[in-house]
Each structure stands twice: as structure tokens, then as C-alpha cells.
Amino acid sequence: MGFLGKGLFQGMAVTARNFVGTYFDRGTREKLVTYQYPEEKPPLPENSRSFPFLVYDGTPDAMRCVACKICETECPPQCIYIVMDRDEKGKPQQRPKVFDIDISVCMQCQICVEVCPFEAIKMDNDYEKSQYGRFDDLIEHLPDLLKSNEYYNEIKPTEAKAVDAKLKAEAEKKAKKGTSKPAAAAPAKPAAPAPAPKPATAPAGKITIPEDAPFTAEQRAWLAGFLSAGGVATSGTGVSPVAVAETTGETPVPLPEATPAAEAPAGGWPWHDPGLGMSQRMDLVKAAPLADKLMAAMAQTDCHACGYDCRGYADAIAAGSETDLSLCLPGEAETAKKLEELMKEAGKL
């Protein structure tokens, strides 16, 4: 087996071969793997992920996110914080007012992307996120997070094309089904700054809140919303949830069962407000039929995570066409338990 030190010489030969080899290997990068980083960036594969961002179509107002908070619930390290937007009357607007992601906590796991039913949140591939501050600078707010669909198409062409096709198919299906409804609702109409539909002074017989009543602006807004939504029957002053759903444009269709019933009664559904607690909502439906009771048990976000809106899901359960009582994600265990209780009460379980 040769002389002592043969192994050493062999090793030296390998090192020398590699040393020389790098000079002849600039094209294939078989041996030479160093990138001169800030000047030269390695190409990123399409799947590569860094932090999440929110997609919008056209203008930033037409964001796809409906603030259903599913991603907030599912995010493993709990680094998402969402507050749903409301108009001055306290009506939920199906869009986030606050959407924060703490990127010092985010573990880039992509679970928010996988669970979002609306294709609203996607993974970016921008990894240069260093900041000087340790606290506030590392929290991304809604304006930082919003990026256009074009940008998404640019960084992840294949994936974005598939998503676009899927959304288009959904929209077409919706257009076909919703012929009875005015399909002309402008999709990109910004919801928040829209002129307040029907101020509290309009129709006769409407209860108005006296100017000198001892309420803060916030309480006043909530109360106004509550009253107009049908606490007292008036002639269609309430902005029904369906109308809101139409203005935001992007929500998937309610299923067929849901369509006929989804027209809100003139007064709207007073319990259809995610701001109310479960017991408050149940108080409002004490004397109502089963479907209303079931609906009041939902989380009232109309997030479609169950495949319906809140009304549709309740109707489907009441009609017996849906048997899974645990589909309401934002409502979590509370809703599931309540639904079971209500069904038992009604003798249907």
C-alpha cells in the first residue's frame, strides 16, 4: 500500500485539482459556487418564499382580503393582527382596517397563504428586509403589505396564472348564478369613503339619536348602525350585508341554497354584526326561527370559509343539506358548540 504519507499526497492532489478547477468552471458553477452577493444576486426559483404580502387587483382599494381572520387564527407563531374596517355606522366593511405582520416573529412558513380561501395573501420573495429599528420598523402595516396582482404575476408567473384563472372561473360562475341580482355593481368601489348611505335623519319614523345624548362618537356610530340595521323596522334604511358584499366585488358566490334566502329583510339582520358577542346575538334571535338562530351563532364575518356566507350556511344546516357543524372558522369552538346545542334543542340531532 505504498509509502508513509501517501494519503497526504493524495489529499494534496485533490486540493490542487479543485483549486485549479474553479478557474475553468465559471460557466457551469459546478465547482465555483460563490456569488459576490450585494453586486451579484443569485437567481431565485419561483417557489422561493420570504414574507407574506397582500394582493390587490387594480387599485389598492380593491384588495382581495376580506378580513376573515382565518390566517390570523392559523398562523403558527401568531404574528398577524387584523382589525376589520367599519363604516361610520359600525357596519363591517369586509376589508381590513389594520393588517399587521410582525416580520421579526413570522417564520415564513406559508401557512397563511395555504389557508386563505380568497387568494388574498401570498408569499413575496424579497429578502432584504433589514431595518435600523428593533420594534416598530419590523412590523409591516397594511400599506407596506399591499402589492399589485401584476407584481405577483411578475415574481411567481406560473402560480399567479393558475390563481387568476381560478378567480376568473369563480367570477363567471357567480355572474351566471346571480342573474337576478344587479351584476353591475362596480367591483372596485372603495367601501370606506363612500357617501354614507342614508344618514340617520332621512326617513320619517326613524329614531334619531338626539344631539345632546351623552354618547361618545364611537358609541354614537355603533348605535346609529344598530338602529338603522333594523332594531326598529324602517323602510329599507339598513345597508344589508349582501349589498356590502357586492360592493367589494371579490367575494366568492354563496351556494345555490343560499341565493334565495340571502336577500336580507327590509330591516337587515340586527345580529349580523361581528362586533356583538355570542350572548348578545342570541338575545336578538330569541323568538326567531331556527335558521335565524343558527345564523346568529356564526361569527358574522361572511368570510365564506365554510363555503357559504353566514346566511347560506345557516340555511343549509337548517335545511339539512349541510351536516358538518364545525365549518365556521372565525367562530371556532364557540360557534360549533352553539350550533350543536341549537340543533339538539330543535330535535334535529
Binding site: K6, E46, S48, R49, E74, P76, E114
Partner: protein, 380 residues
């Protein structure tokens, strides 16, 4: 346990043992890990591993979140081998929930796991030689090869190390033809690198002198201490979960389990070289037979995933040894009632003292290197 073994005949010179703390911030402890060594001159007469500096409460965290949400956390256990970690958890959950995994997903899992094994073993050898004093060269050669595998993992899963790739009932994204070609390319070129690596190392006189007959782990002790993985096989214990359990589709591949004779550091080095060669064999077969079809079981829901009450233990042959998860689900079933992780490097580390006693303090470093620990997994 500290023994007073004095190699110097009594009556000649009065000597005292001295306690030295190696680590927790020491380049050769592979992370934040401390060894409390008692030395008599240069000889180790006692050694106590001190761990827990990197404890992150993985098990308790997992009991507070959904089944799905713990998958990305398993990436952070043994951060070199996130693919096998994912697989271990998914396998346990699938066992517990009775989920059937589609063929293609099983093959993809085998492919990524064997690539992970190659990646891990080549780096371990690099690190071990780094500890021996071979600064840089072998490690960087290993890293160069690892880089190619990580590139594939990035285009497949989106991340180089924290892959978060597997899901209950399959994998998250499909392997495209381009990626299969890339994998085939890596596999085809790897034996050449391995030959070169062996030329550089296997007959090197310095390596032989430093590694042979150092840190011997007897077969009986390996069995009694429940050592697993390459370390047990280097001591001659014929135990490979891929052969014993035949989980996934491992039963279909033709490969051998290399065994060591002496159980010293050199055997532990060489067993890894041989295992890489066997992995190449498995990869060649898996890439050849990769069937078409679904890559994830369609009936498994992402949200609202629930498991009926029960318990189960699933284990895989991770590159470092037997990685298993013991899971208990109670009524509700949204999150585990109990979640226990059996980490191979933690259990392999328990024999450190037995291997080190009587050796010089410089040998402790390579003995530790040959155990192959990752502190993310030891401390969890």
C-alpha cells in the same frame, strides 16, 4: 459521574484533577452545549454533558396549536434535515388518523429524505474534520455539494433549510419534471464527489491516527443505551428502521445496511460514507420509478383537520438516528393532547462520557463530532 482514575503511579508526584468547562460558546461544541470535563493532566476522567441552552418548548407549544401548525416547528428541530423531521411528524399523524398517502407522494418523500441524508452525512464528515484541525477544506467541499441539494430544495419547497414541505397525506407542492431532472443530475454527479472526498480523507495518515481506536462504543452499550442511526451501526448493531419498519415505500428498494466492527470514530466516519453510497442507490431507483398521480391525499383538509381520540407512535430513520413522535389525541381532536418527540441526537449524546473516559481532551472534540448532534434537536 466523576471517577478518580489516576494514570500516574501513586507516590511519585502529587497530582490533582481539574474541572474544565468546555462550551457553551465553543466552536467545536456545534452550538450552545457545555461539557463539564474533569481532567487528570490531559486525560479525561469524567465528563458531564450539560444541555438545555437552546430549549424552546417545542412539545408544549405543539400541544397548544393545531396539528398543521406544528409542521413548520419540526423544521427547527434538526435544522439540517427538515425533510425527515416533517416526515416523522406526518407519518405519526397519518398513522393516528389512518390517512393513506398516494404513491407519488411516497416516492417524493423518499427522494427528498435520501437527499437530506446525503446532505447531512457529507456535512457531518466536514464538521468532524474541522474538529480534527482540517480547517475548511473538507467542510467547504461538503458545503459545495450540499449547496446543489439545497438549490433543489429551494425550487421545490421555497426554502433552503426550513422546508416545511410535507403535509398530512402527501407533500405540499409537486415535483416538476425539471426538478426530477435536477435531482437526477445531482445523483449522477455525487459519486464522483464521494470518490474525491474519500481520496482526500479515507487513507490520510493523520485521520487514521486520530480516529482509529478512539471513542469506542461497545455493541452492548449501544443497545442498552438505545443508540440509533449510524452510530449504532458503526458499533455493529444491525438496526435500520428503513429495513425494520419498511415505512413508506422503503420495502421496494434494494439497498444494504453497512455495519462497523470496532465502533470507534473512524468507523463512524466510514459508515457515513458507505451510507451515502447506499442512499445514491435508493435515489437512483426512486427517481427511475417515480409514478405519476396525486401528490397529496385529496380528502385531507388543511383547516379544521381533526383526529379521533387515540394515540400513536411513528418513527423514521432520520440521518442522525431514530426520530419518532408519540402523539395522543383526545376528544375535540383539533390539537394534540400529548406530543412527545424522540430526538436521536439527544439520546445518542447520553453515551458521550463512556466514550470519552481515558482519552485525551483533544479527542473529546472529535468524539463529540462523530456523534453528530444538532442542538436544536437535543434541546428542543
Amino acid at each position: 459521574m466523576i471517577q478518580q482514575i489516576s494514570p500516574i503511579p501513586t507516590g511519585m508526584i502529587e497530582t490533582q484533577t481539574i474541572e474544565v468547562s468546555i462550551g457553551p460558546q465553543h466552536p467545536s461544541t456545534h452550538g450552545v452545549f457545555r461539557m463539564d470535563a474533569v481532567l487528570d493532566g490531559e486525560t479525561v476522567v469524567g465528563l458531564k454533558p450539560v444541555m438545555g441552552y437552546l430549549h424552546r418548548n417545542h412539545e408544549q407549544l405543539a400541544e397548544r396549536m393545531t396539528w398543521l401548525a406544528s409542521i413548520p416547528y419540526t423544521d427547527r428541530l434538526d435544522y439540517f434535515n427538515s425533510m425527515t423531521n416533517n416526515w416523522a411528524l406526518c407519518l405519526s399523524v397519518e398513522k393516528l388518523a389512518g390517512i393513506k398517502v398516494p404513491e407519488r407522494a411516497e416516492y417524493i418523500r423518499v427522494i427528498v429524505s435520501e437527499l437530506t441524508r446525503i446532505l447531512n452525512h457529507s456535512c457531518v464528515i466536514g464538521f468532524m474534520l474541522q474538529d480534527l484541525g482540517a480547517w475548511g477544506t473538507p467542510l467547504l467541499y461538503a458545503f459545495r455539494e450540499r449547496e446543489k441539494i439545497l438549490d433543489l430544495f429551494e425550487s421545490l419547497s421555497g426554502a433552503r433549510m426550513m422546508c416545511n414541505y410535507m403535509r398530512f397525506g402527501g407533500v405540499r407542492v409537486d415535483m416538476t419534471d425539471a426538478m426530477v431532472a435536477q435531482a437526477k443530475d445531482i445523483v449522477a454527479k455525487f459519486p464522483r464527489f464521494l470518490d474525491e472526498f474519500e481520496q482526500l480523507l479515507s487513507n490520510n495518515e493523520v485521520l487514521l491516527a486520530r480516529c482509529q481506536k478512539v471513542g469506542i462504543l461497545p455493541k452492548e452499550l449501544a443497545i442498552n443505551a438505545s443508540i440509533s442511526g449510524p452510530m449504532a451501526r458503526a458499533s455493529g448493531v444491525d438496526y435500520d428502521i428503513r429495513k425494520v419498519d419498511k415505512y413508506g415505500v422503503y420495502g421496494r428498494f434494494d439497498f444494504r445496511v453497512p455495519l462497523g466492527e470496532v465502533g470507534d470514530v473512524y468507523d463512524r466516519y466510514y459508515i457515513r460514507v458507505l451510507e451515502m453510497r447506499e442512499s445514491i442507490k435508493i435515489l437512483n431507483q426512486a427517481l427511475r420509478d417515480l409514478p405519476a398521480g396525486a401528490f397529496v391525499a385529496p380528502e385531507v383538509k388543511l383547516r379544521n383537520f381533526k383526529i379521533p381520540p387515540g394515540d400513536g407512535y411513528g418513527r423514521v430513520e432520520a440521518p442522525k438516528g431514530e426520530l419518532g413522535f408519540y402523539l395522543v389525541s383526545d376528544e375535540g381532536g383539533k390539537m394534540p393532547y400529548r406530543y412527545h418527540c424522540r430526538p436521536p441526537s439527544f439520546i445518542n449524546l447520553t453515551t458521550l462520557e463512556d466514550m470519552c473516559l481515558g482519552h485525551k481532551v483533544a479527542d473529546v472534540v472529535i468524539i463529540l463530532g462523530s456523534v453528530d448532534i444538532v442542538l436544536g434537536e437535543v434541546d428542543r
